[in-house]
Amino acid sequence: MITDPTGVSSDTRERTADSCGADSSGAATGPQRPPATAPPRAAPQRRRRRAHTPLDPRPSIPLTLVTGLVLVYTLLPLVWLVVNATKDQEDLLDSFGLWFGKDFQLWDNISRTLTYDDGAFVRWTLNTLLYVAAGAGGATLLAVLGGYALAVYEFPGRRAVFAVVIGAVAVPGTALAVPTFLMFSGMGLANTPWAVIIPSLVSPFGLYLMWVFTAQAVPSELLEAARIDGAGELRIFFRIALPLLMPGTVTVLLFSMVATWNNYFLPLIMIKDPDWYPLTLGLNAWSAQARTAGGEPVFDLIITGSLLTIAPIVVVFLLLQRYWQSGLAAGSVKE
């Protein structure tokens, strides 16, 4: 039961080439569950998909081309970014945007980005990592515990918790910014890492996803059996539920990581000291610098810095796509 719940089995590799990552992980987790308690939309239905050859029509060239236009639109700016990260400032101005310049300056650009202004970029990267580790890690932990509680226990105020949290999604985050800032400065937390980390700890979407996911993936009979065997609630959570919740947890972790890594508005308001900037604020500071009188325009560093900022998160997404795609599918189950 507690074998690799993420379902990376040897045969999934080739299958993901033409079928969804969700399929393979679903198919791999399915057989490990007790059949009687398997949630209604688990593996069997997904396995069936490949059997339906009449419903697996031939690929269409026109459809691929039309959809390909959206793909070009999506990828063009990223290609532009990669190409222009290889140019020095002079080439940036002179050469065509979608092709390489005279010199290949990528390595030089990277080293100048990392060392410019006494290594500010490195400092910002470390800050970002701190915010992501504490903020996204904490947000995931709280969401998993809370979602599990909502799905498993009957307790007074449970429906209220759900209604309030989901209603809060409709409140513009930015509407809270001013009062949050004033509150945090009153507590002496503004301009410290805490001001970025604490608000990042709450993810209503994460709570919702974990709630739905727990309701599907953790059969109550299993918990009941463990209780009869005399296991405590904490032990049941860590030893039985948590392994079953892994795909959902990874999804929530990934989305909180992206949200924290990419956060701009919260640190913009909370952090005044450049030493505590995350990467997003730092890049914008470099961009604003070109406008100030006497400020050195560093377009080449902004472009290379942007590439360095998105590279880790893009890589993480590509590597873990099968997990978050199956987690998202769980979140979209209706009634």
Partner: protein, 306 residues
């Protein structure tokens, strides 16, 4: 108001009365940490904002209670209404375009008729991983008529493309950045919803002689209706909150993007440049109520069956 449907399984009936008490303790034990932080960073600021909105700082006499004065001021504030009209126009154009493209791409991927389906699915999502800062800077450079792609095209083909960062076009240019960022995300949401539609429905329809298009309109679209409604609501909320992209592109187009370009930019500049915390809190609350009312109306309309 709940935006998302509650799963049917998730509220099981309680089994015995004796266990209720213990369950309550354990349940709150697990949910407590989330609830505590949530109260600190969501509920307390909302309450505090409301408190602030009823007060005003005066040069003489300090902070005093003014009742609804700030709200009355907001109702007649031209800068606020211009910003609101701008985001209203923005969402009327940008949201349907973005969701329309996302829906078409999701249906195309789901149809199984694309070459390199897996590549499409992953690539189209990539911009979601790109921070708004980087997306705005990147597009800002591309928009450049001097040395951006627009400038390149003008040079290469002797064109005189209009400046995307000029006042008449900058809203559309921002819309393009936002669309670029979130098309893939919405595609994934729709695609995930399509994945859980039982395939046997398509088979049954095909046996009954339904064509591909008929399956889309009669089965697939109704099946993902609630996903579409949720995506619409989140996009509307996002539009009303429009801040990051215009704030970052202000560096490139200071004349086109003013400090009150959107209500959120206005709130921000009131609070952090103008030191008008009370009025900023008022505007924020008015926008919050606006958003909630419109999101709720869309939900009521969208969830109505038939």
């Amino acid at each position: 108001m709940s935006l998302l449907p509650a799963p049917a399984k998730a509220f099981p009936p309680s089994r015995s009365r004796s266990r209720t008490r213990r369950n309550a303790l354990v349940g709150w034990g697990f949910a407590g940490p989330f609830a505590a932080v949530f109260a600190l960073v969501f509920l307390a600021p909302i309450g505090y904002a409301f408190h602030l909105s009823l007060m005003r700082d005066r040069l003489i006499g300090g902070t005093s209670f003014v009742g609804a004065d700030n709200y009355l001021q907001a109702l007649t504030d031209a800068r606020f209404w211009e910003g609101s009209a701008r985001v209203g126009l923005f969402l009327l154009v940008q949201v349907p375009v973005m969701l329309g493209i996302a829906l078409l791409v999701a249906l195309a991927i789901d149809s199984g008729r694309l070459y390199g389906k897996a590549f499409f699915r992953v690539s189209v999502f990539l911009p979601y991983a790109v921070p708004a800062v980087v997306a705005s800077l990147m597009w800002g450079f591309i928009y450049g008529t001097r040395f951006g792609l627009v400038g390149n095209l003008n040079d290469a083909f002797g064109l005189a493309l209009p400046d995307p960062l000029s006042p008449p076009l900058v809203l559309a240019s921002i819309g393009n950045v936002v669309t670029w960022e979130f098309v893939g995300y919405n595609t994934l949401i729709f695609y995930a919803a399509l994945k859980v539609v039982p395939r046997s429905l398509y088979e049954a329809a095909a046996i009954d002689g339904a064509g591909e298009w008929r399956i889309v309109t009669a089965i697939k679209l109704p099946a993902i209706r609630s996903a579409v409604v949720i995506a619409t609501i989140f996009s509307i909320i996002g539009s009303f909150q429009l801040f990051n992209e215009p704030n970052i592109m202000q560096n490139l187009a200071p004349n086109a993007i003013t400090t009150d370009y959107t209500p959120n930019l206005y709130t921000y500049s009131l609070a952090f440049s103008g030191q008008q915390h009370n009025y900023a809190a008022t505007i924020a609350i008015v926008m919050g109520v606006f958003t909630a009312v419109i999101a709720y109306a869309v939900q009521l309309r969208g969830m109505r069956k038939g």
